[in-house]
């Protein structure tokens, strides 16, 4: 069994309530942080832990905190990004539903470190039932003196609020999220200025993912040193992985960073292998926006080394033969999955979710969706395959926010690794008109290893 920092007590009955949560040591980090540490010490501790943002980008959390404009006389804010909406990613939902007090505890310590007196949890609107869970937990914390004025008898006061979004993936981008929190359309802002200088209401603001903030209590409780002992190199600590698709045991798993990918897919402790006794075809390892890898490259790097669940190992080979840990949204496809159709569902998603502010993204995502639709439905031409690559290249790096890149990367990687499958669609239009074509006759690209 791997180390569990976040989910250690997740199965304890009533852990979502304050008394049970406290009986398991909950809120100890608040006591320690507020009574024995300074904000500077806290920021240093988080920096030293090497905690990297768990939302997808993987930016070091402590470093992000240190960018906060602490000389400003404006109010400072912590905004928790709970707008989890990326296909394959559903870990924050589990964390908030099961352990709402862990998030609140992390927010109290983080706000103290940042000098924030208000914090908002911006949660995707579809998770409305979790809004109620969080609000109930926040009420409990106020009643226990863990929120509000003079927390635990100290000079520190803090108010926390839950703010529901209304169905827009783009609001997971931190500046779009801030626009949305201000009651506007979720259009990303041009950067700089970054939120740490001018964020919510043009005040210094830190935006962190739910899982990042939920990791803070452990770092403070056990110290950064011991947190750092878990994991490999700059991939420290544990990570929640949301596993879905063609596996025997879809769900949320907390892994120690450094776990071999093969063990994650095949061991009973985690995914339990490929469903229906089928073979592994491909994996999207970090949410729909990261490059897709065929079976051979997800299990081993191009150098033949075992691929590990770390930021570095998954990225080994760059975008040619590697991918990204991203949000930890691990989507597994067996031999019957049609890569083109899967990619079309992603393209449809990005087209739907583009805010429309930048032309390359607004128009390009639509083009990619249309071209993929016609290839998948048996109306494609060979030149469409290169057209897709060309459109993806024209989007990448040419938009205000990373949604354009997120839409382009899966396209480029799918064609790189599965080009023959795209060609098959063009050559045999009659066969692919049936949406379940590969269930009857699995297609394996030449040179792609399928593991049993």
């Amino acid at each position: 069994m791997g180390k569990k920092f976040l989910l250690e007590h997740v199965n304890v009955p009533g852990i979502e309530t304050l008394p049970v949560y406290q009986s398991k040591g909950g809120y100890a980090s608040v006591e320690k942080a507020l009574k024995t540490m300074t904000p500077d010490q806290l920021i240093e501790e988080v920096k030293f832990s090497d905690l990297r943002g768990r939302g997808g980008a993987g930016f070091p959390t402590g470093l992000k905190w240190s960018f906060m404009d602490r000389k400003s006389d404006k109010p400072r804010y912590l905004v928790v990004n709970a707008d989890e909406s990326e296909p394959g990613t559903f870990k924050d939902r589990y964390l908030m539903e099961k352990l709402p007090h862990l998030l609140i505890e992390g927010m109290i310590v983080s706000c103290f470190a940042l000098g924030a007196k208000s914090g908002y949890i911006y949660i995707r609107g579809e998770y409305m039932y979790i809004v109620r869970i969080l609000e109930k937990a926040i009420d409990e914390a106020y009643q226990a003196g863990l929120l509000g004025k003079n927390i635990l008898g100290t000079d520190f006061s803090l108010d926390l609020y839950v703010h529901p979004g209304a169905g827009a993936y783009i609001c997971g981008e931190e500046t779009a999220l801030l626009e949305s929190l201000e009651g506007k359309r979720g259009n990303p802002r041009l950067k700089p200025p970054f939120p740490a200088i001018a964020g919510l209401y043009a005040c210094p603001t830190v935006v962190n993912n739910v899982e990042s903030i939920a990791a803070v209590p452990t770092i403070i409780n056990i110290t950064a040193d011991k947190y750092n002992d878990v994991g490999i190199g700059k991939s420290s600590g544990t990570k929640l992985i949301s596993a879905s698709g063609h596996i025997n045991k879809p769900g949320i798993y907390e892994i120690e960073l450094g776990l071999p990918v093969e063990e994650f897919i095949y061991s009973d402790e985690y995914c339990g292998g490929i469903w229906k006794g089928r073979k592994l075809k491909a994996v999207v390892a970090g949410g729909s926006s990261v490059p897709i890898l065929p079976a051979n490259l997800i299990l081993k790097t191009a150098k033949g080394e075992p691929r590990l669940m770390t930021y570095e190992s998954l990225a080994d080979g760059g975008f040619v033969s590697g991918t990204m840990l991203g949000s930890g949204g691990f989507i597994v496809m067996d031999e019957t999955a049609c890569i083109v159709r899967n990619l079309w569902t992603f393209a449809r998603f990005y087209h739907h979710e583009s805010c429309g502010q930048c032309s390359p993204c607004r128009e390009g995502t639509g083009w990619m969706e249309k071209v993929l639709h016609r290839i998948e439905h048996g109306h494609g031409h060979m030149e469409d395959i290169d057209l897709l690559v060309s459109v993806a290249k024209k989007i990448e790096g040419n938009t205000i926010c990373p949604l354009g890149d997120a839409a382009a990367w899966p396209v480029a990687s799918a064609i790189r690794h599965f080009r023959e499958e795209f060609e098959y669609h063009v050559k045999y239009p009659e066969k692919v008109k049936d949406p379940k074509h590969f269930e009857k006759e699995p297609f394996v690209s030449e040179g792609m290893l399928v593991n049993g």
Partner: protein, 171 residues
Amino acid sequence: MEQIKFSEQTLALVNRIIKRYPEGKQKSALLPVLHLAQAEFNGWLSAPVMDYVASLLSIKPVEVYEVASFYSMYNLKPVGTCLIEVCQTGPCWLRGADDIVEHLKNRLNINVGETTSDGMFTLKTVECLGSCGTAPMLQIGAKYHEDLTNEKVDDILEKMRSENKRSSYMR
């Protein structure tokens, strides 16, 4: 014409929501208040409802329109008593979302985007709802229905018909 006005209880909640934001930043309450408005006024946001919300928050009506038309959870046209939203993205598709949509279309005798002739059901497909590990799934109001099979879908439809209650994200 009936005057558009929140119930006393909802108005009190609106005022509490506005206080979550700094003074003068009441526009921040727009998304939560629109959710309340949609729940209270028949499941959709008509122009008069949006005008009313604008007046409550002391902002221009166009500021409400541009927001309401941006976010997918707000309905700008009437919907059935029960709005069924089926996730169809990647992981849900891998686990059979297309079959669930087909089954719903057959059972309800409508296409995606349409409402049954009795006004009971509207069928909508949506992008990822964060339920990939329990796919395929659909959402009705605030409730997620997961690990779907055709039989489960039939049970859900039956239950919704017998309850005959408007679905809302607020319940």
